[in-house]
């Protein structure tokens, strides 16, 4: 009889630990998702100033700048918690266009010598790096929850308490994966 009670206590203990671990993983994922959101907002705040300053120098890139502004407005409208896939898609597109913008900036030496513009570009680079870091943290949390939800025995508990993986990986688009030599801008 005692053995039965001990077995039951051990099973309950394991159940509880797995339950706690699952909840922690889900919360960590939510926290990391909001971390991406914070960084994306920083980027949205930077873009208008950057475009206004660049407009004085980059007259031939008007369409590119308009596209960036449009993508920014569209991305801002999408709520991360409602449609994360759409949010990631738009932000990947925005990243690509911003990379194109950085490359185009190479052809404008006057703009490169402007200190305010340099500072703005440095800030943009720093924000982009923070977005990349937040994305890596988010993806690692997606993997952790995905493993917990799919691998036995935690998968069993996940099903029982209704935890499922409803957040996608934040994957960079193929074009965005190509490294951009930002150092060139600061030469």
């Amino acid at each position: 009889m005692t053995a039965l009670w001990i077995t039951l206590a051990v099973v309950a203990g394991i159940f509880y630990l797995l339950y706690v671990s699952l909840i922690q993983k889900r919360n960590r994922l939510k926290e990391s998702a909001s971390g991406i959101d914070v960084q994306l907002k920083k980027r949205y705040d930077l873009i208008p100033n950057l475009m206004t300053m660049a407009a004085k120098y980059m007259e031939h890139e008007k369409s590119l700048m308009e596209e960036i502004t449009k993508l920014r407005s569209e991305a801002m409208k999408v709520d991360f918690n409602v449609d994360p896939s759409k949010k990631f898609e738009l932000d990947n597109l925005l990243s690509q266009r911003l990379n194109d913008f950085k490359l185009s900036a190479e052809n404008y030496p006057d703009m490169k010598s402007n200190q305010t513009m340099l500072n703005a570009m440095e800030s943009l680079n720093a924000v982009e790096e923070h977005i990349a870091a937040a994305r890596r943290f988010y993806n690692s949390n997606v993997t952790a929850l995905k493993n917990a939800v799919e691998i036995f025995p935690s998968s069993l508990i996940a099903k029982m308490i209704g935890i499922k993986l409803d957040m996608p990986y934040f994957e960079a688009e193929e074009a965005a994966k190509k490294s951009v030599n930002a150092a060139e801008f600061f030469k």
Partner: protein, 332 residues
């Protein structure tokens, strides 16, 4: 030519001319000083050879007389022999230590003149950072600096010091307890300015497998959580702890992790550990090797091998800036 504009290969190739024109004439003078101190050393050793048997005889004679009077005299004899050994070692080592101080204070600043704008100080430690805050050294009671130099290489401010940390531990010898200073770290500490701004702390420690538990306790990693990174090779080599998970990934980009692995492979140190704090990078290279020894009382000053070795050690420290690309604000 400013050293900060020269790359490592240029630094190496230009050193021979610098050695011939600036270092060699001083070394010729130093050779006379070395010979003088070597004579003191030989004299001290000769005195020790004569004094040891005489003093030993004296102790045993005293012990024999005392053992008749009281039984516990052996402890006095033990202490006397121990004290005698320490005294003789001190007498013999004094000329070596004096020469080391004199030669280093002269030669090291001279070698560093080649890099322009570097200051050298004998027996100094990196004091601008609280070493406990870096969490790279475990518990310690004693800290001793050997060589210290600071300057700017490729626009990156750098401070370097060879340091030894000891901890007072209770040890038993002949079943008798006594305290002894045990070395917990010996190696080179390097403080560099980072090319990124950050507010938290990220510590990268050597992965010691199941021994990680002990290193976590001794480093006092309170407030830092384990960071699991996607680079499996890096994960095998290092354990990362950070106050901010996102910031840790901001600092440890995949490219930076690769560079850190390259650095680990390039230095034949026992361990290489990093601490990112206050926009600075603190590196602890643990090694048994005594670094920056440009001269020795037992080797001729005219033999340039030791100077070259010390020069190469300095260059290899500066190469860290190149390996980690700290001179570039590319954000990778």
């Amino acid at each position: 030519m400013q050293s900060e504009n020269r790359n490592i290969d240029e630094l190496k190739s230009g050193f021979e001319t610098f050695y011939q024109s600036r270092i060699l004439p001083i070394m010729q003078d130093m050779e006379k000083v070395r010979q003088k101190y070597l004579r003191y050393f030989i004299l001290a050793c000769c005195l020790a050879i004569v004094a040891i048997p005489l003093l030993m005889c004296g102790i045993f004679y005293f012990q024999l007389g005392a053992s008749i009077a009281e039984q516990n005299s052996s402890s006095f004899a033990d202490s006397a022999i121990y004290g005698l050994v320490v005294l003789i070692i001190t007498i013999c080592a004094t000329p070596i230590a004096l020469y080391k101080k004199k030669s280093k204070s002269k030669i090291m600043p001279l070698i560093l003149q080649y890099f322009e704008g570097f200051n050298y100080q004998y027996k100094k430690t990196i004091s601008s950072v609280n070493i406990n805050d870096t969490r790279l050294i475990g518990f310690y009671d004693g800290r001793e600096g050997d060589d210290y130099f600071e300057g700017v290489y490729k626009n990156v401010p750098i401070k370097v010091s060879e340091e030894k940390f000891t901890q007072r531990k209770l040890v038993y010898r002949n079943n008798k307890p006594h305290y002894e200073n045990v070395e917990v770290f010996h190696g080179v500490l390097i403080l560099l300015d980072m090319n990124k701004n950050f507010s938290g702390q990220t510590v990268v420690l050597q992965d010691k497998g199941f021994l990680n538990v002990f290193s976590k306790v001794s480093r006092d990693l309170k407030g830092l959580s384990n960071v699991k990174l996607e680079d499996s090779v890096f994960e095998k080599e290092f354990e990362v702890f950070a106050s901010d998970q996102v910031e840790a990934r901001y600092l440890l980009t995949t490219a930076f992790m690769e560079r850190m692995l390259k650095l680990r492979a390039a230095y034949h140190a026992d361990s290489v550990e990093f601490s990112f704090l206050n926009n600075q990078l603190f590196i602890a290279l643990k090694t048994k090797e005594n670094m920056f020894e440009a001269t020795s009382i037992f080797k001729s000053c005219l033999d340039k091998k030791m100077v070259e070795e010390a020069f190469m050690q300095i260059v290899s420290i500066f190469a860290i800036i190149d390996i980690l690309s700290l001179d570039k604000r590319i954000g990778l």
